[in-house]
Amino acid sequence: MTFLSGIFFAFLLITFIIYFIVPLRLRWIVLLAASVVFYLSSGVPQILFILLSSLLVYGAARWIDVLYTRQDRELKEGEFSREEKKARKLSDRKKCRRILNAAVLLLLLVLTYCKIGGWVIGSLRDALGEGTVDWMQVIVPLGVSYYTFSLISYLADVYWRKEKAEKNYFKFTLFVIYFPKILQGPISRHKNLAAQLTEGHAFEYKRVCYGLQLALWGYFKKLVIADRLAVFVNRVFGNYMAYSGLIFVVATLLASVQLYADFSGCMDIASGVSQIFGIELEKNFDHPFFARSAAEFWRRWHITLGTWFKDYVYMPLVVSPRVSRIAQRVKKMFGARTGKAMMTIIPTGIVWVLTGLWHGTGYNYIAWGLYWGGIIIFSTVFAPEIRKLTAFLRINTETSGWKVFQMVRTFLLFSVGRLITIPGHLRTTLDVLEKIGEQFDIWILFDGSLYNYGLNQKNFILVMITLFILWAVSMLQERGCLRDKIAGQNIVFRWAIYYIAFFSVLIFGMYGAGFNNAVFAYMQY
């Protein structure tokens, strides 16, 4: 079951009715049951993985919590010198760290197994011959990357004493398995979500309406825009040997919009569905194509992944004595500025390689990580030079023209990054780059050639219209809550908007016979 399957709507309706029928204090149980049913639809072994992972983290966190609680109590009640207290804290800290490390290691092992298990079995089959390891199958639990990161963040927060461990295993499991966010995130933090999940929410008409509107907008982005563009993109890159020239540029630009519409569409559906139950998920997208720099882009795109890496990888690395030692050594050898730059280069480089690996295990994903890491490191380390150059060229950075230029530049940078990952292999990306130079004919934009790649003229016109709508809605959202603005309109206009949006998805959506859009692009992670 995904957000796009017909059965999901029946499932959602039933969950909605039951949720608001049962007493407030029991409503979290309805969500837990619904989430288990939702997850079970992906398979029984899959749910065992997630339940065992959450049991592991629940147990580890409780253990850490118990150690801390005992330490606090004993230190409070007992007579200890300052050194004794310090030693006791250090000893408990070490124990907790061992628990943390062991649990995180297990979680990462499972994640690694899911990520590269298929590749390992494939390689074994190639080496040993057909039929030798066919009995082996990799079970990939739904949303494994997302819930693993959520679990690690929870465990780290408990270890850092940022929050207390959850005592009720079932409530904790609900946080892990909550169905709107399990497919593609956001990577929720326990402290932001858990309380909302269990407190029970009364029916609120406005909130339900808002949730439905957001979900509808998500379906529009996914079914009308993303899946339509996917036809074109898949045709071009799926048969890249047959094409050359500008068509790859067009396909890459459209692929960027496609990915945004797909991923942010899914997030809107998840957030909208969650809002119906009164639960606000973390924001995962903030109109990234309005970003004026690479760093800003990644603060607006897949926000929860970015903040996760910042909080649990980047910051620990920045304060890590090892990184400091390396920086000091470099400082002595190459000067203060280079030493300071190392404090950016090392953590940022590691974060981006890991971000690449989170997305996939091929060389292209490592290259993609290095590409983005390189851009961000360059723009950070050479920020003074860039500022000087801007001043030297007398560029007024406050003009809208400059801002638009920066947005377009960021979009193009994103598109180049997209070109590294779309073809599937680094070798293919290089082939495509080579083929762009062959028969570069700009007239294909005007002579109807574009209609030969799966989208006819009518569909292309529709693409243009929907991209304009996407841009206009994003602009309005950027300036304030669009749903509040709609709610302020009179009923005829308001309902007309709802009906038009609903039937636009229904009519222009790419679904049904002949379409295979049961998955979202980011579901594979």
Partner: protein, 532 residues
Amino acid sequence: MKRIIIRSLSFSIILLVLFNIVSEILKKPKNSQWDTSGLEYTNKYPGLFDVVFSGTSITIMNVSSEELYTEYGIAAVTLGEPEQPMFLTYYTLLEALNYQSPKVVFLDINSLFYSESMLRNKINDYEHYYLHFSLDSIRNPIIKYEAFQAAKELKPDLDIFNYFSSIYYNHSNWEELGKTNFIRKSGKQVMNGYFMSFTIAEGLAKLRDSIDIDYAENVNEEELLDFNKTYLMKIVELCKEKNVQLVFLRGGGIDTALTSEKYNTINKIAIDNDIPFIDMLQHDKEMGFDWRFDASDGNHFNIMGAKKWTDYLGDYLINNYRFEDRRDDSRYKFLEEEVDRYQNALAVMQTKIDLLSAINFEQYLNALKAVDTSKNTIFISVSDDASKNLSKKDCDKLSELGLTYNLMDKFRYSYLAVLDNHTSRDLLEDCGVTLDGELDNGSRYQLSSGGYSSGVLASIRVDGLELIQGGRGINIVVYNKEYGEVLSSVYFDTFLYENPPTMRRINVDIVQEQYETSANVWSSVDDVLVQD
């Protein structure tokens, strides 16, 4: 809270209404050829039909329910979809018998011998087409679901939403939205579930003679697929339960002629269950079926063939069962209203046969003279030269049609004529000429003619489609305005030193087929040479 409930209900009701409207608009209009929807009639006129025909396209095209009404006063309806497997025939019949209590059900047994792979292939092929025809016409959701489940036995990955949500299946039709999506009309050739064909397939007479229908020589049987037999027996049981007389019918043409083994199989089931079994091929001579003109292909009959076969069945019904004459019953107004249209269609078919029967210029001109130009239009265009070998007699015959100009001695002239609504419009010039205009049915025509020194061309286009080959001499097209049918397309080479002139008849059915598909007419014209 009350306000919220009222508001939500209002919103939902409007949404449902809009949903239905949009679903209807987006429904792909069936190809007019198959837009029969017999089940619509059984649901619309409950309890009125005495006879039901059920089965495949053979049922749709070969039996004329209107003929039964006109000639015998029997109210019949035709249920059927192209190549409909037996299990779907069962479910459509089950749906129909919820609304009707007929005395007799004729079951077309053509699909009984489908093999498992054939059935699977058909379901595969039908996923976006034929399976929909059957399932979409079933209104009862339980019957529809059971039919869907039966189809799933053959193709387990069928998507239920494709069949239970019209908009789910049809939504991508927005790309082809047209007038027909907003104004729903039954096809002109459709009548109470019966599809009237005007096509004439030639060359079948000899084939018919080669078929041996002496089944008695062989006693072997062909084994039936369990799946088909199960549903056949379900139909038998259903009819028994509803107290309806079931009759097995093999009513197709020569392509689906039964082998002895198949005949014996079906005959045994018929005998075991006390069911009459009628095979058309055993009675075609008796009914005066003319294989030169009455079949539209190897399996299907045109309106003239259907009339003969239906008359035979009408006699059978009258002789074996009692029926009330429905012709004066006001409840059957919907059948009475179709009588004129049906008779007119028969007249159109007769005109076509008459024109086709002519084998020389003189005979053709005689047949042309009999054409009613209030319903048909005659187009004439000359290419190269039409006068060199044209006799005075020929010219007089042409003049009798009502033409203004005489082609006699007009060597290498260009000439065009349109005979429509008992008036003529013609042009004769020694340079190239063109003529265009609009017919009563809204169709537009464009004619061109070029003599030897003016391009050597002849063109007769209706709604942009070329209808002639453009041969040397006189090119003639007879076009029926009501049905958009090309009744005849010929040319006579009146330049050659031959008397009477050579007639080259273009296979009008191929022209018609091209007309339907808007393809290039001349890519596959069958040039039939008839020399007297």
